[in-house]
Each structure stands twice: as structure tokens, then as C-alpha cells.
Amino acid sequence: MGLAAMMPKKKTISRLGLCLWLITFWVTSAAGAGQALSVQVKAAQLRNGPSFLAPVVAVLDYGTRVEVVTEQNGWTQVQAAAGGGWVHASALTAKSLSLAAGKTTAVKDARSDELALAGKGFNREVEAQYRLKTGGAGYAWIDRMAQFNLPAAELVEFLKQGGVVPPGGPQ
């Protein structure tokens, strides 16, 4: 199937999708604007526009609750205690993460309750035990790897310099 054949179909689907989303939101009235979501990544960047290039206005920790204002192209406009802005939808979840592993690191002596209540706490403590048991030789590089981070502006510059441009211009 060529591109010409693919594109209109995709648009039809997303438009249909939008309609159905809206309908379901009206019916449930719990989702969409006003819905409470949780940050499901370690540090979500709250930006002042729906783009990875938009300036960061705040960083939201894992488990932070936000309220949905609106959604657009995979981005969610939210209101958080730290302020308003846009977060990519993949950084948010409707599930409650308030009992998740990360939280308990701030609570003293809570390790047992964390394991019991989440019942599935594959957390840092389990990792530490696992490292002891297996020797954990590979972790040195895993920790180094986790530091490999490039800012979005540099990524975009890399693509631009290489003449990597999607048809219809950069997005």
C-alpha cells in the first residue's frame, strides 16, 4: 500500500476515534477535562506548549497527580500543583500510583508494607538483593547507560544537520 492510499484512511480513523472518544467522555463524564491522572515516569517535563521543544516550566515527580484541561495530538494539557502546562500523554496514567514503589523510599521503615500492599514490589531493595545474589557485574554499565541523555533540542539539531526532514516539514 502506498503512502497516498494510507494517509486519508489514517485521518478517517483518527477523526472517527476522536468522535467516539468525545461521545464516551460525555457519557462517563469522569474522563477528559477535569480527569485526574498520575505521572508514571521518573521525571515528567511540564512544558508550556504541546511539543518536546517547548520550554520546560516544571518537572513533575513520579506519582504526582494532575488534572486534565484538554488533549491534543498525543499531548495532554494539565493543571498540577506546580502550575499549568503540557505533558506527553505517554507520561501519564489513569491508574493510581500513590502506593507505588517509589513513594515508599521517602517513608522510613515502610519496606514491609510496600511489599505486602503492592504485593509485587520489584523495587530498589529487591534489585539490591538480586545484585548481591547474582554478583551484579552488568549493573555498572546499566548505571552508566542510564546517564546517556540528550536534550530534545540537540536531537532536533542532529536531525536538521543530517537533512532528516519528514515530508510536509519538521514536526
Binding site: K10, V27, V41, E125, W141, I142, L159, Q171
Partner: protein
């Protein structure tokens, strides 16, 4: 595209169910409450007493059962912890290739591609590392740790082909294929047994048991990545994701076919690498070719040059 539609239909169905069945919502809320009770119980026990009433033990068990379903019940943070351990295991089998220039290049390219994926955000982001091995192979650990051998990089004749390799691995992360390699029984064991066990003896014994289950979980995923390979359907999904991501960013999707052709010529039959864990390159080419958009023109000189510079060390 089919994938999009299926996902959308699944979503619409879920939403419709939520709309029709207020009951279902009630059950969900009930589940949360149970969890809260368990929290309090656990906290009380954890802080001091060590004694627990029958009712409370039941609450903990319920909490365990309430969440004992599928890989999707793992939080993104747990998925990341699993991914780190899988990565550590892979690094015991395949030494890293410590080339700052190459690894910076792979991370720049890979993270740029990830931004255009359907899941640009994971718990701790996407990270890429070259492996010092002549085997033709690549691995995506849950959460976004991606490993590519020098052998596979040598199958790439352009930056666009390298982009195809990384985008394919991002596809595995985005579809959470690694997490789906965890044995169902292991998940149930992790969630319910541990919760029940917790009522009797919290602390060291429970941590030890959870660590054993964690070990099993890592073994499930590592065995799939290294020995068994994913299903043909998963590989096809990852190829589709690669083509989609490349088109969004502006790379030439046909470079995926070029890379597969190169691989076809280099794979040793019966080898321990891609040949063992992946569908044949030709079958992947036949399946993915119709989905690829035509190239918009030749690769610019500057892109060729920077790729050649980096590949000099590969």
C-alpha cells in the same frame, strides 16, 4: 495501521464498558479501598507490632488478588527495575563496546527516534549501548534499555539503516514485548503469594522470596531475548513500528529492507544470533516492504559522512 485500528477498537470497547457498567467502576474503586486498608495494615506492621489480625491478613490477601492479573499490573517503575536487571544479564553474556563516539551517536539517533514513537516517555527514558560482539543481534529490555551488537551495526550501510535497527527495538519497548515474556504463573505468584506470605512473616523472608520471584522473572525475559526469540507477530509489530517511526522523523523506510538484505547475506545458518531468534530476513522483507513509503531522494552527503565517521570504529 491495522495495529492502530485494533488498539483504537480495544480502547473504544474499554471506554464503552466503563460507560455502560457503572458497576465495573464501583469494583475498581472498591479495589483501591482494599489497597488502602492494606497500606495501613502493612505500615502498622512494618513500623512496630509484627502482629496482625485475621481480618487484616484477609485484606492484604485481597489486595494481592485484586492486582494479580497481567504484566500490565506492574508499575512503570517496576518495569524499569526489571529492564535494568535484564540489561545487566545481557551484559554478562555480551561485553559492552566502550566507544564514546559510537554510543553518543546511537543515543542521539535512538532518542530522536523515540520522541517520534507512540511511547516517547518511559519511566527513565530510552538508552542505547553497543555490544562488542560479532554476532548479529539486538535486544530491547523493558522500559527502554536497548543493546545492539557491532555485528548488527555492520549490516547497516547508512544512518537510515541504523535508524531502522533502533526504531525496531523501540517498537519492542513501545509494545512491551519483553514484559509479555514473563510467565503468567510467575506474576500471580509475585502478586498473591507474596501478599499472603506478608501477613505471616514480613521483612527478610518476604524480601528473599520476592527476590527469588524477581530472578525467575528476569530469567523468563532473558531466555526469550537470547534463546527463544519473540513470536513472528511481535517481530512484525516491531518492523511496522520502525517503518512508522522512520516516516514520522524523515528517514527512508526502505533502509530497513536494505539492512535485512545485508543481514541475509551475513547470517550464519544455524548461528546463535538473529538466525536463531528471528524470522528469516526474507520473510520480514516480504511482509514489511508493502508498508514502506518510497524514498524522497538520495541521502544528503553530510549524513553519509557523519555515519561513515562513526562506523569507522565498528
Amino acid at each position: 495501521m491495522k495495529q492502530d485500528r485494533r488498539r483504537f477498537l480495544g480502547m473504544a470497547t474499554r471506554m464503552a464498558l466503563a460507560a455502560v457498567g457503572a458497576n465495573a467502576f464501583g469494583v475498581l474503586l472498591g479495589g483501591c479501598k482494599t489497597m488502602e486498608v492494606a497500606t495501613q495494615v502493612g505500615t502498622a506492621v512494618g513500623t512496630a507490632t509484627g502482629v496482625i489480625s485475621g481480618d487484616q491478613a484477609e485484606s492484604i490477601q485481597k489486595a494481592g488478588k485484586a492486582v494479580a492479573r497481567s504484566f500490565e499490573d506492574f508499575t512503570p517503575e517496576q518495569e524499569y527495575t526489571i529492564g535494568r536487571a535484564v540489561g545487566a544479564q545481557l551484559l554478562e553474556r555480551y561485553p559492552p563496546y566502550d566507544s564514546p563516539a559510537l554510543n553518543t551517536y546511537l543515543n542521539t539517533l535512538g532518542q530522536a527516534l523515540a520522541l517520534a514513537s507512540d511511547m516517547p516517555e518511559t519511566f527513565n527514558g530510552y538508552h542505547f549501548l553497543a555490544l562488542d560482539s560479532d554476532q548479529i543481534n539486538a535486544f530491547a529490555a523493558p522500559g527502554g534499555m536497548v543493546f545492539v551488537t557491532r555485528g548488527l551495526l555492520r549490516c547497516c550501510r547508512s544512518e537510515d539503516a541504523a535508524a531502522a535497527v533502533l526504531a525496531h527495538e523501540i517498537g519492542h519497548v513501545q509494545h512491551r514485548h519483553g514484559m509479555q515474556a514473563i510467565e503468567k504463573s510467575r506474576i500471580t505468584e509475585a502478586l498473591s503469594t507474596v501478599a499472603a506470605e506478608g501477613a505471616k512473616s514480613l521483612g527478610g523472608a518476604q524480601l528473599a522470596q520476592l527476590t527469588r520471584i524477581f530472578e525467575g522473572t528476569i530469567a523468563d525475559i532473558t531466555a526469550t531475548l537470547v534463546n527463544a526469540g519473540y513470536s513472528r507477530a511481535f517481530e512484525s509489530q516491531a518492523d511496522q513500528a520502525a517503518v512508522t517511526i522512520m516516516a514520522r522523523v524523515g528517514y527512508d523506510g526502505s533502509a530497513l529492507v536494505d539492512m535485512l538484505e545485508q543481514m541475509k547475506g551475513r547470517l550464519a545458518p544455524g548461528g546463535l544470533d538473529f538466525a536463531k531468534t528471528h524470522p528469516s530476513p526474507q520473510s520480514r522483507i516480504d511482509e514489511v516492504r508493502p508498508k514502506i513509503r518510497p524514498a524522497s531522494g538520495p541521502i544528503p552527503e553530510i549524513r553519509r559522512q557523519r555515519f561513515a565517521r562513526v562506523m569507522a570504529s565498528v
